[in-house]
Assembly symmetry: C2
Homo-oligomer: 372 residues x 2
């Protein structure tokens, strides 16, 4: 076993498909789920890629039995530009992809489409869905609630999920604008990554019940689940630094992820029964597509959006700063950097891959990090 | 003249209508403009109320001649759920109200409606328009670009407007959820208020070209116009504190306010020609309405959204904190507090009111603060 190795994307993706198949996810759905995860690794977002295969999907289906491998997407209501679906605790990525496909189809007809889902599960990295819209020449928007993690301004209790509010917009630059960020300063996935890498979390991002900051990544993850710590919203803990604005965006996402679909919210998403037993997360998501053709010529839109982003990057840098980025650019650059290289797999993750392989008898896989 | 007096809303509103009429704004439009301004004062948002009548509307029409008192709203494109309009530098509030009315009407039919505007002008406090949607039983969303003020992460140049991204959602509480915040930590209107009140701006919210913080409110407003200072986005100046997330939201608003309507953006919105002469601002806005009835029962939605907000307010407070607020609550409480009391009018504003009154010969108005 080596400390960290790089594994090619195609091997990881094929392995993930086979793991999903082995635990009962149907063929097409397994490909969708693996595609969402591997695309996060390709974008350099290790917090939401193959590193989540075991804890967030495999274990919840096989061990905790709080998620269904088959996704029976029920359409509760389907009107002109809108729809409401129930995911019945199937695969969040399958729910997400189907919802965004519906939103895109509606937008093609009416200019706009919006689909909301309830009783779903973790849908991977959020930008995946707006990027589907971008590929269709549209603006995409999505958000999801999640396990209670963020404290309201003037509060210390973990109430709101990390609730991303993510737009995707086409540009003439070969990759779309995507602001795929949690509405907390730091997100759970990043702390999980710190944990896997054995690194402390920076100060000021987490508060405990006494209003003090925490830094031990392992302990933070436990405390977050136990409700003994909370994430600060974007803007920080106080109103003076604008914390109420991040708290506002987190609340917007919580409302759009629950009220329209009459789904679960806040503490109901703890993943635990009152007796402390694991239970389904019942997440809510929303998806919106805006067909640019209904407003203006798509190429003109892309030219303008590209010009805005280039002007930002070309503006005066702070003394000592190398460059200015725009949203989605770092992920695009990571993708170029990782071409032919794959994803970094640390020791914790190596053990997870071996365990899933062995448990499911996927004997055709042998990894480069295994002892000869 | 007294340092600060309170003037009843109905007197201020009537005066504003007459000022608008006297400078050529048609009757209905004058009422709309005054309604937007007075509702900001009623919500306790003094930065966007009567205090802006002279500098942002009156002076731009009468002195700088960069804004039209009559609003010839041209509908460039009108399709199923979408429309594009050109405001031809008329009154931003008139453009805004008409756009949101169109979006609401479209949402009634299709479930969603979105209208974007170009060549508009300052449209007042942004929450006004989502609140129109809330009154119609809908979710509302709006944003606008503005004079370049915010620096990108790793940059020091004022590039982006204070670009609010504002949602309004109905609740069962008698007032809607509205997160009417700039995507900077502090917004121009608040600095203008500090200036009127002769107060310094807190440190850490403004950076100069050398990357250092500024606090002199009078100087900041000059430096912002001259491009020698910039606002930090929500999250602050660095990525470690999440500044790139606020910068991301500011960019989202800039793109949605320019690319779909093929309008102006960033430095084009300086309000100055290359020779330094005043010119029209050519702002862009977007307006969206989401008809809740197309998703679920409106009363059920309101019940859920109210429950989410009450749970947040009732969660554990930080040691020393009096209470936890939800978005729109402070404005609602300010409204109750100001009933029968009116708006605070400081000395600077008293002089402005007298000057406009005298210039326009509105001799029927005599204010309580004038010498007997």
């Amino acid at each position: 076993m080596k400390k960290q190795v790089w594994i090619q994307f195609n091997q990881l993706e094929a392995f993930m498909v086979d793991v999903f198949l082995s635990i009962g996810v149907p063929e097409n759905d397994a490909q969708t789920c693996a595609d969402v995860l591997i695309n996060s690794d390709k974008r350099g977002i290790d917090s939401h890629g193959v590193g989540r295969l075991k804890p967030i999907y495999y274990d919840r289906i096989v061990r905790q039995k709080i998620q269904q491998p088959t996704t029976n997407l029920e359409i509760i209501r389907d009107k002109a530009a809108t729809a409401v679906v129930d995911g019945h605790h199937g695969m969040g990525m399958v729910v997400g992809k189907q919802c965004m496909e519906m939103a895109i189809e509606k937008a093609r007809t009416y200019g706009l489409g919006m689909v909301v889902a309830r009783n779903s599960t973790h849908y991977g990295f959020a930008a995946y869905y707006p990027m589907m819209a971008c590929n269709a020449g549209m603006i995409g928007l999505t958000g999801t609630n999640a396990r209670p993690s963020i404290a309201p301004t003037h509060g210390v209790e973990n109430m709101l999920g990390t609730n991303p509010l993510v737009f995707g917009m086409p540009t003439d630059e070969g990759f779309p604008f995507t602001n795929d960020y949690a509405t907390s300063i730091i997100q759970r996935g990043k702390i999980e990554q710190y944990e896997r890498e054995g690194i402390d979390c920076p100060a000021g991002l987490i508060i405990d019940r006494q209003g003090k900051t925490k830094t031990d990544s392992v302990q933070i993850l436990k405390d977050l689940v136990a409700g003994q710590a909370a994430l600060a919203p974007i803007g920080g803990i106080s109103e003076e630094t604008g914390g109420h604005k991040g708290y506002g965006f987190a609340t917007v996402v919580e409302l759009l992820s629950s009220a329209l679909q009459q789904g679960a919210f806040l503490k109901q998403l703890s993943g635990l029964t009152e007796e402390g037993e694991p239970r389904a997360y019942s997440l809510g998501h929303f998806f919106m597509a805006i067909d640019i053709d209904h407003f203006c010529d798509l190429e003109e839109f892309k030219k303008t959006s590209g010009e805005v982003l280039r002007a930002l990057r070309n503006s005066q840098k702070a003394p000592g700063a190398d460059r200015i980025y725009t949203c989605g650019e770092k992920e695009h650059l990571a993708g170029i950097d990782r071409e032919g290289k794959g994803a970094p797999i640390n020791e914790v993750l190596q053990n997870q891959l071996i365990q899933m392989r062995d448990e499911q008898g996927l004997t055709q896989y042998r990894f480069s990090f295994e002892a000869k």
